[in-house]
Amino acid sequence: MKELSKTNRLTIVVSAIVLVFIVGLLTLRKPDVQYNQSPEGMLTALADTANYLLPSQLKRIVEANDGKSVLIDVRNSIAYGQNHIGEAKNIPVRELFTPENLKFLRTAEKNNQQIILYGESPQQANGAWMMLKQTGFSHAVMVNSSFGALNRPASDSIPVDMCMLRDEPRIDTAALSKLRNPAPAAEKPVVKAAPKKTVLPAPVQHSSGGGC
């Protein structure tokens, strides 16, 4: 076993590997953004109506302008340039995590400011909002309305159609029941509350909603 007594080169190689590990660990940069909420926790947050702002609530906040919140416009810069709400800052969805935007958002988060996101549609705001909510911005909320509806001069009288808090079914039940029972029989199915041509009432009862 004379080869067992020769350990010089072995030591050199092992030291080199250990050196690689140490250098790697020292130079390791944590990614700027990390999840701090589990997927399951996020699903719970999605069901919390406090995370969705109604247009009327937004209006009140914009008018108060007390520095307790920052408004973020997640549409592209052209749309932002044409028109935007109040003193909104433009952060397109794709640029949400650029260093300067992150710095801005983190400052707002540190100052306990509410981060309010709105977009062309609630769906656009939702993407950006979910990203922020999952990565540690606990004060982020989204506006549950489209920009077009927000920007009406008299946003107090927002039509029901525009108020889209948590997706409501707006299907024509009359047409549906006609489909299911082609001949208008005597005994109507009692599933439908209102057989007349109407809009289904919203299943979620929101007290805060002034606009609806």
């Binding site: 350990t7 979910m130 990565t135 024509d172 549906l176």
Partner: protein, 206 residues
């Protein structure tokens, strides 16, 4: 034996102890926040209601419609052939099994876009592939397929083809249309601009 070996053994154990300190990654497939943001910004996940209807009518076996609304709403009205996975139970093991199937195009829908998109983002983060969102949700589906508006005389013939396709689909789903419009063939091409997902399967489709 040899002092060197003692030192080397200690180094090896130290490396092993270092491994112990590293985080386990149970969420191996989880998308990083940066990747997820890019995915969110990419609109290719949206499929139009007409495209979905076309695939439903053709009994495309590679299509799985997932209704993410609460159960009560699902029972009241749902698109034929859809299964119900309410948003809050999206990540339970039984739901994950449905999302796991790589052969199927999983299409989320809700009443409008938001909830379906929330389900999509959650599933995307968890690393699921071949998932889509039906643009407009039930509301649009209902208004375009069931309550299809008849185009006026002046509109191009494509509008009429689309209208007849919708009426035909409606009759297909519910047995009868409101008007006795003859069932015409679905347009040869997908009626919407949304491209069909690249991942094709043996199933029908276009």
């Amino acid at each position: 034996m040899n002092k060197r070996y003692l030192i080397l053994a200690i180094i090896a154990v130290a490396i092993g102890a270092g491994i112990l300190l590293l985080p386990e990654n149970p969420r191996d497939r989880e998308l990083s926040p940066a990747d997820l943001l890019n995915a969110i910004d990419d609109p290719s996940r949206f499929l139009s209601t007409d495209l979905i209807t076309d695939r439903l009518v053709k009994k495309d076996p590679s299509l799985l419609l997932i209704d993410v609304r609460p159960e009560a709403q699902f029972k009241m009205f749902a698109i034929p052939g859809a299964i119900n996975i309410p948003l809050d139970s999206l990540l339970t093991p039984s739901s994950q099994a449905a999302l796991e199937n790589k052969e199927l195009d999983k299409v989320f829908y809700s009443n409008s876009d938001v909830m379906a998109d929330q389900a999509w983002i959650s599933a995307k983060r968890a690393g699921f592939e071949a998932i889509f969102v039906m643009k407009g949700g039930v509301n649009t589906w209902f208004n375009t397929i069931v309550n299809a508006a008849e185009p006026s005389e002046t509109e191009p013939s494509q509008a009429f083809a689309l209208y007849h396709f919708r009426k035909g689909a409606c009759q297909y789903f519910f047995g009868t249309g409101e008007t006795a419009a003859p069932v015409t063939e679905a347009p040869k091409k997908p009626v919407s601009l949304t491209p069909r997902p690249v991942q094709s399967s043996s199933g029908g489709g276009c």
